[in-house]
Symmetry: C2
Subunit: 299 residues, 2 copies
């Protein structure tokens, strides 16, 4: 089994109380892939500009990520510049340069069109729809978005929600899109938009998975080492979807374990800048931390 | 075994999106007692004014709460008026009338001085210290406070922290007193002030219990029915301390279960105004909800 992820490949410049980095490899699809690769083959669908460093292509290739549908075209790579302060829970976006992303039409190979597990990481909902319409037999489709699209492309996003199985949102996005402040009510409302499963990511407070059949609430891995949370949500989603792709089941027990693996993967992501930690991860590191995590959360 | 709780007995006026109530029975010691009584005998140490309705005294008495050290004196009962909006996570205090609380010197009977489990619910730290100094053989002492005392009586509070086993704080109080924004770092810093155990209450996001020996993180009971959260933290503390008093053990497994029972008790508190729900609770209701809760949080 393999998975296909559509999203951004970005050059991230980040400042946190612990230092700063410029033009690191980042983006929603990259963070997702770096985590999902621990469980399954990952096909990346994205676009970069001519300025995108060859070393990053080589790096992704070495990590086993399938780059057949990574377009490299005239123009500039998508760039994000952000800053974290205080409890590092919220990113302050300083600047965004869309570059080649603004004219992105994703294309996939005939082989890739047959892939059944699909993750539409954060990018314009029209681009997400475009890709999904080209997939032949979607079986498990996850969708992430962001406040910008909730505000500016609400209808496109709502239409897309009818076609996906899992909607992944952070706390604020869930509240904004549902117009409900209680998170359980928010999940119920989001469920009424279409997706049978709603995953609400609460950062340091963990995750809620809501479905008609069951509810699951899991705290985050407790850590005092938060260096750079950029991509933590995508890393979570990569672990979650990657695990489900590996086990080929979507029953409650597998879904719970998928949330747990996503949580563990995300806990590594925040411990260093960009992909510094997740790119070195092996499944054995997840397993070891999972054993600790059980002591923290089970009773 | 029994427990003694010092704190406020108040007349609460509350407005939430679901309605409003005036001069309800409330206060930190009352909410604590209403939950702790499910597990153990509860001795209440507090003060009220001549305006305090006899029906409330009768009500507390009927609930089995020991009122020997509830002083009724000339003057007005402590009154709190507050409002909740949006996600109901934060109370907006509209007014506070200290009344008889401003000259409160708690006294306890000789019998009560021998009680080993003590909870110092939110009240002036000088009053908390005064009571604690009169207790003969404190074995397990829990302490709660609030932002007002952290700001205005920081030194008194820090001195008191050296004498307690468990400090119970909400997220903001933990951050304010520790001056750390990461909650695990905040807990470590608070631990350095003295208490071997730190309990951080995160409202809808659950609880973290930090100690030198172990860490435990538990989500809240997921609910879409939050009517009035006033007293939820005290109800949590009552369940937590009450359970420990009942089982007479403070090993990690008992502490985890105490956090679970506190969480379940608090989940009932928020479902109606004031004590409307918790005053009707029986241990069997906690047990039933605990069975549901396990499905929500265990994997």
């Amino acid at each position: 089994m393999s998975i296909i992820v559509l999203g951004t490949v970005a050059l991230d410049s980040v400042k946190t109380p612990f230092g700063k980095r410029e033009y690191m490899l980042g983006g929603s699809a990259v963070h997702f892939a770096m985590s999902a690769r621990l469980f399954t083959n990952v096909n990346l669908v994205a676009i970069v500009g001519k300025d995108f460093p060859q070393k990053y292509i080589d790096f992704l290739h070495k990590k086993g990520i399938i780059l057949t549908s990574l377009i490299r075209t005239e123009g500039k790579t998508f760039k994000w510049k952000g800053q974290y302060q205080g409890d590092l829970n919220t990113a302050l976006t300083l600047s965004t340069e869309l570059g080649v992303l603004s004219a992105f039409k994703p294309t996939v190979s005939n082989e890739q069109r047959k892939i059944k597990h699909i993750f539409l990481a954060n990018v314009d909902p029209d681009i997400q729809s475009h890709l999904l319409s080209h997939m032949r037999s979607p079986h498990l489709v996850g969708l992430d978005s962001m406040n910008y699209w909730i505000k500016h492309k609400r209808q496109a996003l709502i239409r897309l929600l009818k076609k996906v199985n899992i909607y992944v949102a952070n706390e604020q996005e869930a509240r904004d899109l549902s117009q409900e402040s209680n998170l359980i009510k928010a999940a119920q409302r989001l469920r009424s938009f279409g997706p049978p499963m709603i995953l609400i990511k609460k950062g340091e407070h963990g995750v809620i998975l809501y479905s008609d059949k069951f509810l699951f609430s899991l705290p985050a891995y407790p850590t005092d080492k938060v260096i750079d949370p950029t991509g933590a949500g995508d890393t979570f989603a990569g672990g979650f979807m990657g695990y489900l792709t590996r086990v080929k089941r979507i029953d409650p027990s597998s879904l719970k374990k998928a949330v747990v693996y996503g949580t563990i993967a995300a806990s590594f992501n925040v411990e260093d800048f960009g992909l510094d930690k997740t790119s070195r991860l092996k499944i054995k590191h997840l397993e070891k931390r999972l054993a600790d995590f059980k002591k923290f959360v089970l009773f």
